[in-house]
């Protein structure tokens, strides 16, 4: 149980509070929009990575 608590403390310590504080200044809708933009970026990077792998595989 002690190790569980210690592990949780490590996770909490490593959280970037500045990002959260910025998010807390936003409205619900702005938070959702910000998330959508991040999600679209992740998906774009995934597509680019897939294309790159296909290219390097000669497909």
């Amino acid at each position: 149980m002690k190790s569980e608590t210690a592990r949780n403390e490590v996770f909490v310590r490593d959280i970037d509070r500045t990002l959260l504080r910025e998010n807390l200044k936003l409205t619900f809708e702005q938070r959702a929009q910000k998330h959508l933009r991040a999600l679209q970026m992740v998906e774009e990077l995934r597509r680019a990575g897939k294309k790159l792998r296909q290219k390097s595989d000669g497909r």
Partner: protein, 161 residues
């Protein structure tokens, strides 16, 4: 496909579906900086609500995620009644529907632990932060450890205000 709350929530609200936003998207509304790829909802299992849920999503091509395309699957009230939880792909993005969450809490149990959100031109219910933390803790999934830590920090930061 990037899932957009602004696309998914309004049709459900306009269809008078009783649901509460839970999971990663609820965390986003609470201020989480993590990225999540689907929308998790807990829905009421009343006869009328199941029909409303079937109607509200019918126009958005719901289908079982990761199921073979040829599977005989029809999205209707009968299908919802004979199942409990559904992981769906829709034309609006991936949606997970739960009739209960870890520890057996249902829509009706979570109502007292939810609050109204006004966004996307509608008003809907979202689970409160302490309950979201409790649900994630009860699920006991290794992948949730960091998410739970972030939610705890959000709770701390919110209480400082």
């Amino acid at each position: 496909m990037a899932v957009d709350l602004a696309q998914i929530i309004p049709p459900l609200v306009r269809g008078k579906v009783d649901f509460i936003l839970i999971g990663g998207m609820a965390a986003i509304l609470h201020g989480s900086a993590r990225v999540t790829f689907d929308v998790d909802l807990i829905y009421s299992r009343t006869h009328e609500n199941i029909q409303r849920l079937a109607n509200a999503l019918a126009a958005h091509s719901p289908y079982l995620r990761d199921a073979p395309p040829s599977l005989p699957f029809s999205w209707d009230a009968k299908t919802i009644r004979s199942g409990l939880n559904f992981t769906l792909t829709t034309s609006l993005g991936d949606v997970d529907l739960f009739c209960e969450v870890a520890q057996g809490d249902t829509y009706h149990d979570l109502l007292a632990h939810s609050f109204d959100v006004e966004a996307f031109g509608v008003r809907f219910k979202c689970v409160d932060l302490p309950t979201l933390i409790r649900i994630k803790e009860a699920a006991g999934r290794a992948k949730d450890h960091e998410a739970i830590a972030e939610l705890r920090v959000l709770l701390e930061e919110r209480e400082k205000k």
